[in-house]
Each structure stands twice: as structure tokens, then as C-alpha cells.
């Protein structure tokens, strides 16, 4: 907890506001189709304080990993770099753009760092090599333990400069892990680093979701002998029960404006979807059917909720209009469709379909068209959740009985494991940008 507590004293100085957008904006939903040749140079030490190669290396690894994950770049081989890579000059007039053009790079990242009494300063520039223009310049000041955070923040900025949409790399991922022997709530970076246990319920904790407005998570826990919905403030650790109706209080999902929570209650002896206030008072019942209704997920405009129901036999995804309560069926293929997650940026809904006992991740448009399978093969992949920019999906992947959190691009490419070995990690949720 401590390391999280208001520790980011990173102040960002915008060195240049005249950021021109790189060439044509890149279509974010089709990574890999149009990659930018990028030269990512090593951070060089600035002035006094001396060289700290470990710091520079860590920064480089984090930034390169994020930019690689984005799928927007093809890296120019550092072995081919010429003299300019070793020169500290960061300003436009100091850089020999012809060298970089010769290597075929169209974008260039250069940076320097200095360390004094535990504080680190990292200064970075992203250039368009062709037009020789500065696309973004940033100076970050922080503790030397904040190097990863600074690298993630700059990666987000690079994506913003090139596509107009900020990256999600400086956000957090909440998930459930049983590595203490009990299922508890954890928090980690988007690349899986710095995992922190958030609860000590020694019971069963399930299915977290982030508030879009406050630094707060909701989740279900059996701590008090019933599956109640809890709220926890991330930085203070303050915790309280939001909904403790007899029976299920599960699958809580904040509305996009953060004012309401959709969840499943079974207080009337059957699982139904409800809207409750953040104080737990019931605002509205959304479904009325003797079947099972679970797993709500909000449309970006807060007008509709996709959910899972067995009202037509097998579990399938349905959509209910929050105002008219009109229900329509979304999925017709497959025998078991569950865990829907609505893309916060468009009309695609990700879900998991079970076929021969194995779940894989699919997406489908809100109108039921253009269904696509994103993952294949053995080992269930469940509980997809979108990044706040809609570029990536996280999910839990069951490999030979060990479940871990994975990340992939929205088109299913680039899948990689992010949570560390040592337990079963499930129910990932992606934070907004705070």
C-alpha cells in the first residue's frame, strides 16, 4: 500500500504545446497494418549525478515493452544506430535527422536523465524524423522508484501524440488471486509489475470493478457470511459494504458516470439485475424473469446494459435498455456465452464462449453483426475486460490448471501473460485513467 500512497510526485512540464499530429492519424483498431519505424535510443545521463545504467535500462525495457504491445511500431535495430544515438542533444537543432532517415526510421525517441538525492529527472522527446518536428516533449520529476511509472506515462503520451488517443499503460489492473490460500483482491501495473494485495478477508473475494470517477474498487466478498458487495478506497484502504441484501450481491459494475451500480441481486429468491445507488439503495429493477440474469456491462453512453441470461435455455448474452427495460437477444451461436464486456469506446462487446468445455474470447457488435473469434486453442480464456482506450483486452487464461492474467490487442494479436506465477489469478478489471 505504502508505495502507492500519493507517491507519484511526478510533475509534467509540457515543453512544447505546438504538437502537430503525426502524418495521418493511425487507425487504432487495426494495429500491425500500418506500423511506424521507430528509433528508441538509450537514456543518456545529464550533467552531475553520474550514470545509473540500471535505471536507464529499466526505463528502456518498460517503454519498449509498452510501445511493442501497442502494435503501432516496428523498432529500428539499435545495433545499426549511428553517432547521433550517443549524443545527448535533445533539441531539434542538435539532432542529426539525416542519420535517422538513413536508417529508415520515421519516428525518434531521445531522452536524458539525472539523479540527485533519490530524485530522478527524466527528459524525453518524440520527433517526426521526416518533417524534423517535435511531436511531444516531456520532463518528469519523481522518486527513483517511479521510473516504471514515468516510462508508462510517457508511453501513453507517445500514443496520444501519434493517434490522438492516450495509451492505457499508466493505469492499474485489479484481479483476484488465491496465492495466500484465500481468494483476495490484488492490484498491479498493466505490465504485471508491482502486484499488491488489497484485501485480507480470508474468505472468498470476487469480481472487482473500478469506479470511473473515484479511486475506488467494488467487489463481492463472503467475509460476512453472505456474498455482499463491498467498496474499497484504493489509497486510504477504507472499506465498507455497499449492498448486503440476503442472497447474491454480485457482478457490480459502475455506470459510466459513476453514479450508479448495476449488479445481480437475488433478494426475491431469483437472480435479477438491479441498479443501485453508490449508497446501496435500490433505484431500479432491470429484469423480471424466472431464469438466471447475471454479469451486467454498461454501454459507453450508459443507456444499455448487456448481460447473461438462460431465459431462452442456454446461457446467452442479452441487452436491456435501462430506460424502456426492453430486452433483446445478442448472441445466437454456440451453447454457452458468458462474461460480456462492452468496449468503452465503441459498439463492440467482448464475451467468452464455451465450446467442448473450453472458453474462448469473441467480440460482436451491439446489433449482433460481425462476430469474431479472438482467441483459439486449449485452455479457457474468460472474463475479458477492455482497456480504457478500447485498444486492448485482458482476460484470465487457464493453462493446465493454472490461471493467469493475459493481455492482448483488440484484434487478438500480441497475447502475453502479465501476472506472475504462484497462484490462480482471475477476474481482471482495468482502471480508468486517474
Amino acid at each position: 500500500m505504502k508505495s502507492l500512497k500519493v507517491c507519484f510526485l511526478i510533475s509534467v512540464l509540457i515543453l512544447s504545446l505546438s504538437v502537430t499530429v503525426f502524418a495521418a492519424r493511425i487507425e487504432i483498431s487495426s494495429p500491425g497494418e500500418q506500423t511506424i519505424p521507430l528509433a528508441l535510443t538509450r537514456l543518456l545521463p545529464i550533467g552531475v549525478g553520474g550514470a545509473q545504467p540500471a535505471l536507464a535500462r529499466e526505463f528502456q525495457e518498460v517503454l519498449e515493452n509498452d510501445l511493442e504491445m501497442s502494435g503501432l511500431f516496428e523498432f529500428v535495430d539499435p545495433a545499426a544506430f549511428l553517432g547521433d544515438a550517443e549524443r545527448l542533444g535533445l533539441s531539434r537543432t542538435d539532432i542529426d535527422f539525416n542519420q535517422w532517415r538513413m536508417l529508415g526510421s520515421e519516428a525518434l525517441i531521445k531522452g536524458g536523465y539525472s539523479v540527485s538525492s533519490g530524485k530522478v529527472t527524466i527528459e524525453l522527446r518524440l520527433y517526426d524524423v521526416i518533417t524534423q518536428r517535435l511531436l511531444t516533449g516531456r520532463r518528469y520529476l519523481g522518486n527513483s522508484t517511479d521510473v516504471r511509472k514515468i516510462a508508462h506515462t510517457f508511453a501513453d503520451q507517445v500514443l496520444k501524440s501519434l493517434t490522438g488517443e492516450e495509451g492505457p499503460f499508466s493505469t492499474k489492473i485489479a484481479y483476484i488471486s488465491n496465492r495466500t490460500g484465500h481468494k483476495e483482491l490484488y492490484l498491479m501495473d498493466v505490465d504485471g509489475y508491482q502486484p499488491i494485495r488489497m484485501t485480507d478477508h480470508r474468505s472468498i473475494v470476487l469480481n472487482p470493478d473500478f469506479s470511473p470517477t473515484r479511486k475506488e474498487v467494488i467487489f463481492t466478498s463472503y467475509k460476512n457470511g453472505n456474498p455482499d458487495l463491498f467498496r474499497k478506497e484504493i489509497y486510504t484502504g477504507r472499506e465498507s459494504r455497499v449492498s448486503l441484501k440476503p442472497g447474491l450481491n454480485i457482478g457490480g459494475r459502475y455506470s459510466p458516470d459513476g453514479r450508479e451500480i448495476a449488479l445481480t441481486l437475488s433478494k426475491d429468491k431469483n437472480s435479477e439485475l438491479y441498479l443501485i445507488g453508490t449508497d446501496g439503495t435500490v433505484h431500479r429493477r432491470l429484469t423480471n424473469h424466472y431464469g438466471i440474469d447475471v454479469d451486467p456491462t454498461w454501454s459507453p453512453n450508459g443507456q444499455k446494459i448487456a448481460f447473461v441470461s438462460d431465459r431462452r435455455g442456454n446461457p446467452n448474452i442479452f441487452i436491456v435498455n435501462v430506460h424502456s427495460l426492453e430486452v433483446s437477444r445478442l448472441t445466437f451461436e454456440g451453447k454457452y456465452n458468458a462474461t460480456p464486456a462492452w468496449n468503452p469506446k465503441d459498439d463492440r462487446i467482448a464475451f467468452a464462449r464455451m465450446d467442448n468445455g473450453v472458453f474462448n474470447v469473441f467480440t460482436i457488435r451491439e446489433d449482433g453483426s460481425d462476430e469474431r473469434q479472438l482467441t483459439f486453442g486449449a485452455g479457457s480464456k474468460e472474463h475479458p475486460r477492455w482497456s480504457p482506450d478500447g485498444r486492448f483486452l485482458i482476460y484470465s487464461h487457464d493453462l493446465a490448471g493454472e490461471k493467469s492474467i493475459w493481455i492482448m490487442r483488440a484484434d487478438g494479436t500480441g497475447a502475453r501473460r502479465i501476472s506472475a506465477p504462484g497462484g490462480n489469478d482471475i477476474h481482471p478489471a482495468w482502471s480508468v485513467r486517474w
Binding site: L206, T264, K269, I292, V294, D310, T339, G357, H383, I426
Partner: protein, 188 residues
């Protein structure tokens, strides 16, 4: 001679009727044992009461001790309540489950002081949230059947653990069948 043959015929006829009646009786006898099965269950339920009388003699009082009998019935219920199992993605009670619940209802009626928490469980296949709802439907179906058998509803509470507490962690059909269940936890 004729007398002999007549007596022979009579004997044969007698034997035949005996045989015939014997044959006819057999299915009847089977049917009665069939219908008596629930009655046997009743006998089983009363067995704890017999144990209770023994414990009365242990106390040396010799007179009928109602408290001890109740305690014995509670012990019988605590140890005698059997879990039931369900088919995949189903919360309808199977005939085998109903037979067990008839027995469980008898134990519960005999021990009116105890309350029971019915836990609904699922196998690991399927989504976690859906299974939480399914587990609750299993627990409620179990409760409703016990109520129909005369167990007061206020003595029965339910909770669903979905797929969170498997009995058998193996990934086999046998393990999954074991894990799809309703368990009974006695609260005194």
C-alpha cells in the same frame, strides 16, 4: 383304481392352484415391498429415537428424558443429513435427490430445534457469476422440496458458493458430478 386317479387329480389340481396362487402372489409381494420403501425410511428415521431411549437409561433416571431425546435427534440430523447431486447446468431435483431429501426431511422434522444452511454448489465448468446464480437455484430448489415435506421454511436458509468450493479439484466427469451438489450445514 379310479379312486386313486381321482385322488391323484385332486392332489395335482391342489398343487397347481397352490403353484398358481404362489405365482400370482409374487408380483404382489414385490409391489408391497416397493410401496413399503418409504415406510422403511420412516423406520430409519425412528431408529435415532431408539438410540435416544438408550441414552436415557445411561443417565440412570430410567424415566423418559425429552431433552436427551431431542439432543439425540439433533445428533442424528447433524450426522445423518446427506448431500444431493445435480445434472450439468440443472437445478431440477433428480429422483435420487428427492429420495435423499425425503430422508433428510424426516431427520429435520424429528429435530425441530435445529436450523440448516443449504449450500448450493456447481462444477467448475461455466462462468463464475452464472454458477453463483445456478448454485442459489439449486439451494432454493432443495429448500422448497424440504418445505413441501413439512420442514418449516424459517428453519432453512440458503447460500450459493457457485464453483468456489469444489469437493474434488480433479477435471474429470466424476469430480464434476461430485461437485454439483447441495450440502447441509446444521446450525444449532
Amino acid at each position: 383304481m379310479q379312486k386313486l386317479t381321482i385322488t391323484r387329480l385332486v392332489v395335482m389340481l391342489f398343487a397347481l392352484t397352490l403353484l398358481a396362487s404362489g405365482c400370482a402372489k409374487k408380483p404382489v409381494a414385490e409391489q408391497t415391498t416397493m410401496t413399503e420403501q418409504p415406510a422403511q425410511v420412516e423406520v430409519q428415521q425412528q431408529q435415532p429415537a431408539g438410540v435416544a431411549e438408550q441414552s436415557v437409561t445411561d443417565t440412570g433416571a430410567g424415566s423418559y428424558d425429552a431433552a436427551a431425546a431431542a439432543r439425540a435427534a439433533e445428533n442424528a440430523a447433524t450426522s445423518g443429513l446427506q448431500r444431493i447431486h445435480f445434472d450439468f447446468d440443472q437445478y431440477v431435483l433428480t429422483d435420487a435427490a428427492k429420495t435423499i431429501l425425503v430422508n433428510n426431511a424426516g431427520l429435520l422434522r424429528a429435530a425441530p430445534a435445529i436450523k440448516v444452511l443449504i449450500e448450493g454448489h456447481c462444477d467448475e465448468r461455466g462462468s463464475d457469476e452464472y454458477n453463483l446464480a445456478l448454485g442459489e437455484k439449486r439451494a432454493l430448489a432443495t429448500k422448497n422440496y424440504l418445505v413441501s415435506l413439512g420442514v418449516p421454511a424459517e428453519r432453512l436458509s440458503v447460500i450459493s458458493y457457485g464453483e468456489e468450493m469444489p469437493l474434488d479439484g480433479a477435471r474429470t466427469k466424476e469430480a464434476w458430478a461430485k461437485n454439483r451438489r447441495a450440502d447441509f450445514k446444521v446450525k444449532r
